[in-house]
Amino acid sequence: MTTTQEAWNESGEGPKPKPMGWKELYLKEDWWAIWLGLGMMIAAILIFQGGGSGLLKALAINPGGLKWSSLGQLGAHFSQNASLYLYQFLFWLVLFGVSTAIMGVPSGQFIPAFIVLYLLSIVMFAIAGWANAAKFNLEAPLVALVLGLVVANVFRLPKWMDSAFRVEYFIKLGIVLLGATFPITLVLTAGPVAIAQATVISLVTCLVIYFVATRAFGLDRRLAAVIGVGGAVCGVSASMAIAASVNAKKEHLYTSVTLVVGWALVMILVLPFASSAMGLHPGVAGAWIGTSEFADAAGFAAASTYGHMAGNEDAAIKAFVLMKVIGRDLWIGIWSIVWAAIATIVWEKKVTGRRPDAREIWWRFPKFVIGFFAASMLMTAFTGSFSPADFNGAVRPNLLLPLVSLRTWAFIFCFLSIGLTTRFRDLQAVGWKTFWAFTIGVAVNVTLGYILSVHVFGSYWASI
């Protein structure tokens, strides 16, 4: 059968891969997450400076902190604040509706689906705001995930509604907004440790999956590479990033989707409770989850859940972000060119044929991370001039907490969307050999991640 690369092989030279250029700034959700996140932050700072923090707090309203104990109390909250919720809904609808329309998502599909998502998010916040929620482990991420899964698999939502269930877009915006409460000094001091730990994890997990798949089970090396990076770096996103490098088949990526989604859901449920059973410090658990979960959204759900359970969400999320977003996600572009090099130099051009190009590291770099750094630097610079008393008395309640609430909205949209888009009937059946190759990698990943997070760097993560 003719390969897609024959012409390339015969000429010995092919066209260089081209980036999207400036179009990426408005066609990729990473950049939109930056524009929206930084835009909200700058607007919030200007409103705060202008003395209009009441507007900011009104826009960031949510019933999550209500601690209601009767439905009457909850109903009264909504009836008193109905207009604020309407304004807030329009705020999100305009931001997401316009940006997704520019990216090519049909507005006629997005708007009705987003209405459903917003209403379900209100329900989620209301559940999380129940006075007894913590007693029954009704952590918002877990409840959102389960609620979404039930709705998607019992009621069979039409596929077009996925237009508004943008898991990755929401999590990227949430991470950029998270930068506003993340001191840049922490990023700079903790970054090297996170990158060192992520390097060990990324290399070991990818190589274990690859060699078990090819040597022990005799699987296609392209499939092995695709699921290897899926387990080692960033789930399906990483698999897709190297798919062209190794000329992967469609079924290879489809297999990665099933494996990653299946194990990610299991770990969202298991890791918080395992951390709780072992009494791990939230910072240590956050680092462990950061090394063990495959996708940012799934990891955030797990880290946030354990943070709530342990009473210190801040530490769990900070350690998770350092480990996963700053440490592991940086490997996406590197693996892309490494596998392109392996495919062309070791496997021979006939099998694949895309030449490794160092610029891919930038082209495939998850750009929203830049927004996270920018938000962190901007807010650190802005708040640096306030005295501790002013910071705690004015900046925190009037500027930072509204931004935290907006961030929480983005995360709830994300967690619900994970469940709402997961239709088990759509996932491809995976062969036993492929399943075990990936699962052995998961076992190594989780064990090694535990050793590094708890025993090697434990005191470090506990001090976050």
Binding site: T4, S11, G14, K28, F294, D426
Partner: protein, 76 residues
Amino acid sequence: MGHTQPCCGACRFFTGAPAALERAVPGLNILSSAYGSVRGNTGLCERHDSFVTSATAACPAFADRAQRESGAPQGP
């Protein structure tokens, strides 16, 4: 050496639009996205059912999308 060969991005078998890619691989949007930066210019070759980039050199099965849309004769 100049590059006169057509690229996959100009082929009618190439699926590079994010919405179409998410339809082509069910579940891709659960914990990932075809709208993200990490995808770069990767797309799906429907002819060979494999992933390539829009800048990958075309194979002999190349069918010019522009020619097809204008009603001109097809490639090999």
